[in-house]
């Protein structure tokens, strides 16, 4: 398919000069849904221990690209990915990769909080248990409490760990999902519009959490809120029609974007 071969020039600094700081390196990534070319030749470095935000209009491919990092797109039959996405040095699309292991390294938080219909405790304990991370009950307790603590939820739920996770408020449920994601000690957390269903206070708590988590994790977040991208991320990538148009430091993108399309989108002048 010749379309896949066309190389895209991305404005800004999509590739980092310091290779040692790169956690995820995507090279010439193309994603197809059947005949639809959803992601076109994306080259992008994602920096370790930073928050990278993906922005762009609906259907621009930002979520598709996010989901290709931990191969969530594998679940879609007609979806095909070409190019490489290297996590540290290994290509996640390599034949030898165990997808379950990959998703333990690259966790995900979704738009709508989706706790399991189980107790708060079991929601967090599920991952460590299936991955066999804890040998004893004490160890598991420690991981669950630690994860709830890091997700800023422990104080609110410590007296009702046996109650269903679905009984929490939306914001609490989302933090429970974050606790669940970090319980297996991933290296990367992907977040697909994690605050779009939350009120401003719950959003602020998640944003504060994201800022704390980046000390230990590399975070990639898809958001429709430009203000959120500006608040939480260090780097921002702007997608349009499947192409990575621009990626630079967040400050640069929101004060002085290079590409006209970026400028048009973030100021609300999209033609």
């Amino acid at each position: 398919m010749p379309e896949a071969m066309e190389s895209q020039v991305t404005a800004g600094t999509p590739l980092l000069s310091d290779a040692s700081a790169v956690k995820i390196a995507a090279r010439d990534v193309n994603v197809f849904y059947g005949d639809k070319h959803a992601i076109k030749g994306v080259n992008l470095d994602i920096k370790q221990n930073e928050v990278t935000a993906f922005i762009g209009p609906s259907g621009c491919g930002k979520s598709t690209f996010l989901r290709s990092i931990n191969r969530m797109n594998d679940t879609i039959d007609i979806c095909r990915v070409t190019g490489t996405i290297a996590l540290d040095s290994g290509n996640v699309y390599d034949r030898s990769i165990d997808v379950v292991q990959l998703r333990a390294r690259v966790g995900m938080v979704f738009q709508k909080p989706n706790p399991f219909p189980k107790s708060i405790y079991e929601n967090v304990a599920y991952g460590p248990r299936i991955h066999g991370l804890c040998r004893h009950k004490d160890e598991l307790d420690e991981v669950v409490m630690g994860s709830l603590e890091r997700a800023g939820l422990l104080n609110e739920v410590k007296d009702r760990l046996d109650q269903p996770g679905t009984g929490l408020s939306g914001g609490q449920q989302q933090r429970l999902c974050i606790a669940r994601a970090i319980a297996v000690n991933p290296e990367v957390i992907l977040m697909d519009e994690p605050c779009s269903a939350l009120d401003p206070i719950a959003t602020a708590k998640i944003e504060e959490l994201i800022d704390e988590l980046r000390e230990n994790f590399t975070i990639v977040i898809v958001t429709h809120s430009m203000q959120q991208a500006a608040r939480v991320s260090q780097r921002t990538a702007f997608f349009h029609l499947g192409t990575l148009i621009e990626c630079s430091d967040t400050e640069q993108v929101f004060t002085n974007p290079i590409h006209k399309l970026t400028q048009g989108y973030i100021t609300g002048r999209f033609g």
Partner: protein, 243 residues
Amino acid sequence: MTTLQGRDTAHTVRSYEEELNHLANVVMRMGGQAEAQLASAVQAVLRRDSELATRVVVADARIDEMEQEVHAFTVRLLALRQPMADDLRAIVGALKISADLERIGDYAANVAKRALVLNQLPPVPAVSGLPSMARMVQEIINDILDAYIEKDVEKALQVWRRDEEVDDLHTSLFREVITYMMEDPRNITACTHLMFMAKNIERIGDHATNIAETIHFLVTGKALPLRRPKGKAETDLNPPVVD
């Protein structure tokens, strides 16, 4: 559609577009007023017209009001629209430019106040040096306002460079005035006022260069990296040696 800010595409939210245009309009009106104030102040000196000078002093309050309007409107836009990119720079730029224009207005009013005093004293010949300097500064203000509304960085840079000429004219006027003072000590009071007027006009030129720098920032997103060319060295301000 090309908007007042010289953009190809208008904002999706029309009221936001209108607000941005309104802000640029207030700044332009403020600039026009400041320009007119300087012209009147200089006329008041040349024609020894105390009535005109008084009008200039009173009218300065109008520029101050417009500055307040720009401030309030800017805060409102920042809070309600959360502007980004060139919109953000346009709004911050308007805030900065309005502060410079307000100072320009103050300097013009100061010239008018001194004109009131000068008109009580016998005329001094040195007054003749003032108009050419004032004319140059008026041109500079006119050009810088054009550069602002046209988002013309090149024009702004021309103004930025021309300030050197104003500085040079100021220096030569300074030397001229000192000579008159040396010739006849009875000229000292009038000449001192004249010297301050020249200084005020020279400062107006400096504010015009500030505006040029702001225009450069709001159009390109980058601060001007260069140092502005300076007039002749400060030592030239030494009085001429008389044998």
